[in-house]
């Protein structure tokens, strides 16, 4: 083991001292810092059997219950058992509904030690676990350590790398030892794709001379896939591209977004590899020459301002009125607001309405403006 010896020692100590009712251990640190390896090593060293689940298993409460119930609530005849839940910060949203609460509860009642690992110390899941766990931090390995380790492996494997190349590998890996070793094994310098800014990447995509260049531009996009699709969408929709081409391009984007939606719901990230190639071939081709330019806003500026300001005020009004009338904010917004805005062109109604909801005078002026819009006066 390289680096993080401290983490290993802490985990071993925790396991030695652990008694039923004690806290679970939570290893927190960036990818490739040896969390999973450490758990396996400690388990081996101490002759403990591991029962392991990671983010590739769907971990709803029911499934956790089924898989882990037995191990957690009973003592094993075959010696000591430790439960290992890897990537708990991957537990998210609806698919893993109730999982964190279930885990907290299980930790309290467990007859066997539970150890967990997570990447992000600020994730909701880690926060939710709170004081039910003992945290053990794992840090990125420093440049020196990674370089030495890579050199040792290169020697062992008899691969020839120039010192400059190993240095570069170590630097690019940024403390992620696992990715550095993978890159070393692949025999290619692990150059992370060069990142561009959002506008550079999107413009390079539209200006690409062939599909290959379009793909490279997309890969260099700095943000999340969702933002990438959004940026492509706003740029296409605001462009002067011919209507027919535009509707084709929007169809491609709509399908890409559907793919993304499925991925997000199922946490099926391996589908991500199809996203950029699909966009590069279909979207790039549908647009043809003289494509759009990067545009951030989907709508003209005055409407954008209304989205920011007016929508908030309308929601506040709907929320106040809805509370008063025992209907939901959305219900008032859809069913009643249009009529109220019409009625607000009458000063008397407007004044009484604002007063009856205890809103300040600014809302009166706002409603007058909205009413004028509605009635087209």
């Amino acid at each position: 083991m390289v680096g993080n010896d401290e983490g290993k020692a802490k985990l071993a100590l925790w396991l030695k001292k652990w008694k039923p009712g004690g806290r679970a251990a939570l290893l927190v640190g960036p990818p490739g810092t040896g969390k999973t390896t450490t758990v396996h090593l400690v388990a081996d060293d101490m002759g403990v059997q591991l029962v392991e689940l990671n983010a590739s298993d769907a971990r709803t409460k029911d499934r956790l219950d089924k898989k882990l119930g037995e191990v957690i609530y009973s003592t094993s005849l075959l010696g000591k058992t430790m439960v290992f839940l890897d990537e708990v910060d991957g537990l998210a949203g609806r698919a893993d509904y109730g999982a964190i609460d279930f885990i907290k509860d299980a930790v309290k009642k467990s007859e066997n030690p539970v150890v967990m690992a997570a990447n992000d110390p600020d994730s909701d899941q880690v926060k939710k676990l709170g004081s039910s766990v003992t945290k053990i931090e794992f840090r990125r390995a420093d440049l020196q350590t990674v370089r030495q380790r890579l050199e040792a492996i290169a020697r062992l494997e008899g691969v020839d790398f120039g010192p400059g190349e190993i240095e570069e590998l170590a630097r690019v890996a940024n403390g992620d030892l696992r990715s550095a070793i993978n890159a070393l094994q692949a025999g290619i310098p692990a150059r992370k794709d060069e990142e561009l800014t959002a506008s550079e990447s999107i413009n390079a995509f539209f200006d690409a001379i062939d599909e290959g260049a379009a793909l490279a531009a997309l890969k260099a996009y700095p943000g999340q896939p969702r933002e990438k699709i959004r940026d492509l969408f706003t740029s296409v929709v605001r462009s002067g591209v011919h209507e027919e081409r535009k509707s084709e391009a929007l169809d491609v984007l709509s399908r890409a977004d559907m793919l993304l939606g499925r991925m997000m719901r199922g946490k099926d990230w391996r589908l991500l590899r199809y996203l950029d190639p699909t966009l590069a071939s279909e979207l790039w081709r549908s647009l043809g020459d003289g494509g759009p330019k990067y545009t951030m806003d989907a709508v003209p500026w005055p409407l954008q301002l209304r989205i920011w300001n007016d929508s908030k005020r309308l929601k506040e009004i709907a929320s106040a009125a809805g509370r008063r009338l025992a209907i939901s904010q959305k219900g008032f917004m859809v069913e009643d607001m249009p009529f109220v805005l019409l009625l607000c062109s009458d000063g008397g109604f407007r004044e009484s309405f604002v007063k009856s909801l205890n809103l300040d005078e600014g809302y009166g002026a706002f409603l007058a403006k909205e009413a004028a819009r509605k009635t087209g006066r």
Partner: protein, 321 residues
């Protein structure tokens, strides 16, 4: 003037089950249930919009919780765009913090549009109901009980509300007109309101009030109001799209969804409803575009993108002639 008098839908909202228009079967069964307040089960109200579901829920709240009913009633929309977790948090907080008074047997959560939730969301809701069952009763409101998962249905007593027919709506509107001393053109006005609102009594009363605001209630004033209501405005977007003006359609769609807070799924629902009254396009193609994008809207992650793409497809119908 309090809000309850300012808006006619509230002013003329029934204050007891006897006052509720029609819905005889619902009334009888509910009255029987309300004899033993403490033993009230969870309720599920199914029926078309504006058929008295929310009004009935409020009547029950008043009857059981008394004059402070507002403090012990939480009205939420189950399809809240921010997700079931927000709904759960609000119910939790509500169940935890509102202390009870003497004579208040439990708190009441009125959950609108329960059938618009995904089945995952409904499963979560089932847990929420269980977690809070001790001091909280739920009234779930939906359009179709078939959209509610079996385990939720089995936890509730189901009441089916019927769509109001033209005679009932007209009679009710006429009685309001009399009390408000409206000048109107006669039956043609009420026929026009019914035509536009299709048995939705809440919309009908709102239309009546807005259309008579200028003094005289006429078929024209009714039409002007109908065009400004959500369905009318969504219809205008679809008309623009079918007319080939994609950009105008799209910006109006964004205004409706992002400024006026019409959820994208409601937009699509209303849009499809208005399609029936429009002419001069390939209807079969349009319907299949709607079906496709309804699916994509649910599957995708960016509803605004999906609706824009749909409008672009509709606009193309025109070009293809």
């Amino acid at each position: 003037m309090p809000l309850e008098d300012l808006m006619w839908v509230e002013k003329y909202r029934p204050s007891s089950l006897e006052d509720l228009v029609d819905q005889t079967a619902v009334k009888q069964r509910l009255m029987a249930l309300l004899v033993k307040k403490g033993q009230l089960p969870h309720l599920l109200f199914a029926g078309p919009p504006g058929s008295g579901k929310t009004s009935t829920a409020v009547i029950i709240a008043k009857q059981i919780l008394g004059e402070h009913w507002r403090d012990y009633t939480l009205s939420l929309n189950a399809s809240d765009e921010r997700g079931i977790d927000v709904v759960r948090e609000r119910i939790k907080t509500f169940a935890r913090f509102a202390d009870r008074r003497e004579g208040v047997p439990y708190r009441l959560v009125i959950l609108d549009e329960s059938d618009e939730m995904t089945s995952d969301g409904q499963t979560a809701l089932r847990r929420i109901m269980e977690e809070n069952s001790e001091h909280t009763r739920f009234i779930l409101i939906c359009n179709y009980s078939s959209g509610i998962i079996e385990p939720l249905q089995s936890r509730c007593v189901i009441f089916r509300f019927q769509r109001y027919d033209e005679a009932s709506v007209t009679e009710h509107l006429k009685s309001i007109s009399k009390k408000e001393k409206l000048r109107h053109q006669g039956d043609s006005v009420f026929a026009a309101i019914y035509e536009a609102t299709q048995g939705d009594l809440r919309q009908a009363i709102n239309t009546l009030q807005a259309a008579s605001a200028s003094g005289e209630l006429t078929v024209e004033s009714v039409k002007a109001v109908t065009g400004a209501a959500v369905k009318g405005r969504v219809g205008a977007v679809i008309e623009a799209a079918l007319g080939g003006d994609f950009e105008a359609a799209r910006t109006r769609m964004v205004e409706l969804t992002r400024v006026y807070g019409i959820p994208e799924r409601d937009f699509l629902k209303y849009a499809y409803e208005t399609l029936g009254s429009m002419k001069g396009f390939d209807r079969a193609r349009a319907v299949s575009i709607f079906a496709e994008y309804d699916f994509r809207l649910v599957q995708g992650s960016q509803p605004e993108l999906q609706l824009a793409a749909m409008l672009a497809q509709l606009a193309r119908l025109k070009k293809e002639g």
